[in-house]
Symmetry: C2
């Protein structure tokens, strides 16, 4: 299944006692339909408040179903903040997490607070130096131990990720032709650690605001120390856009 | 001033007794700052529930002000659904309505209900035939009496408008490479009548759903009869994106 959700009201993806999570809402809806509770596996956990337009998840059922009808029923049962964009039967061995080759996140920011898309955009002031941030973003590309950008409480032991794309792109023209008003930071990697994108974005903002030099990013990465990186940027601006799988599973997004 | 607003909670632009309107909210905020009530003139009225990202308005003050500070103060006072994107002193003769050369509206629609931008997108089912709708949209371009697309209660007597652009454009790839999932209808004209964009979009949807032929649009226009056009598409999908002025006033969007 291909999922879109507004993460504002959820404590992230992963089921947790006494918290509303996306995974739980999906399992609740599915249970109503099939009368038992198939576990739903996502391509990865999104943190509290983080959104998705291209989350992929799978579950196993005892009997074949009409997936077109099931999608409609799920969308009827789910809270409005979660939408099933696509649902189909796939290879029995398909695993949403283990088969994922890469994930793409976008972080949306504005020079002036957005009104129409306020739930998934963040206003950044003063205007950061985007050229400078893009110089620094280029240093992130490659295979590194990203421990400096991983939440300290994370249980993952392997902290090595390969980032293949990291760049701020203008989205909408600003008031002057010289300056864009809306931007997004795009990042693609084989895997992401807990809180990694937000820590990277927060550090890049410090560089954009001349609190850190571009080259400082090298020593932050080398330090493997979370305290050397900048504070996490707000979850609200972050959207999981796309998860890539091998061609044999098809690409639905 | 350049304005962005989420029209969901407003009864349109124009001040009305006993209704929350955008103009009224702006005049209220301005009055707090200058202690009198300068009337605010917009480039045009937007209907109830219609949004704007590029509404332009002007007002006259008795004394010069620091526009940078005033913009910040206004944004502090205004409801979150209204944002002043830009504010500057302009030619004393500038008139937001009479000097406007053209307006651009976008109508946002999805094949599957959007979650992240649900407040300003509309889900259209079954999937309309976009090629057919674009054939019909081309017939709208030109100078016509648009009475068939004007709300019957409208007080405007001149119903002639010149449409220079009218086209559905894909926004986001769908599940299959053959089909886009998100679209917008773009329309630019020198002026728009009351309810005109929504009536045009509603009529195009009927053509996209094979309830009307492409050529029927010619007879709908020629009829000058609102009952011949389709029902108005929901206000929620419509955004005033841009108002164009002569170069001498600059272009801020």
């Amino acid at each position: 299944m291909l999922l879109e959700y507004d993460g504002t009201g959820f404590n992230g993806w992963q089921v947790q006692p006494a918290h509303a999570t996306v995974q739980q809402a999906l399992e609740d809806a599915l249970e109503v339909l099939v009368r038992y509770r198939p576990g739903i596996t996502g391509s990865g956990r999104t943190d509290a408040g983080v959104h998705a337009r291209g989350q992929v998840a799978h579950f196993d059922l005892d009997e074949p179903v009409d997936t077109h009808r099931m999608r409609r029923s799920l969308n009827g049962l789910l809270p409005r903040a979660i939408g099933v964009r696509f649902l189909e039967e796939t290879h029995p061995e398909f695993h949403a997490r283990y088969d994922a080759m890469s994930r793409r996140y976008h972080y949306y920011l504005d020079i002036n607070a957005a009104v129409l898309e306020a739930s998934h955009r963040v206003c950044v002031r003063p205007v950061p130096d985007f050229e400078r941030m893009n110089e620094a973003a280029a240093l992130i590309i490659g295979t590194h131990d990203f421990n400096a950008f991983c939440r300290v409480q994370s249980e993952t032991t392997n902290r090595v990720c390969t980032v293949t794309h990291a760049r701020f792109e203008p989205e909408r023209k600003g008031f002057s032709l010289l300056r864009a008003e809306s931007w997004r930071f795009e990042i693609v990697a084989d895997r992401f650690l807990h809180g990694m994108v937000r820590a990277i974005v927060g550090t890049l903002f410090q560089i954009g605001h001349h609190k850190l030099d571009v080259d400082d990013l090298r020593s932050v990465i080398a330090s493997k120390d979370r305290r050397q990186a900048g504070p996490a940027a707000p979850a609200r601006g972050l959207v999981l856009e796309h998860v890539r799988y091998p061609d044999e599973f098809g690409d639905r997004t």
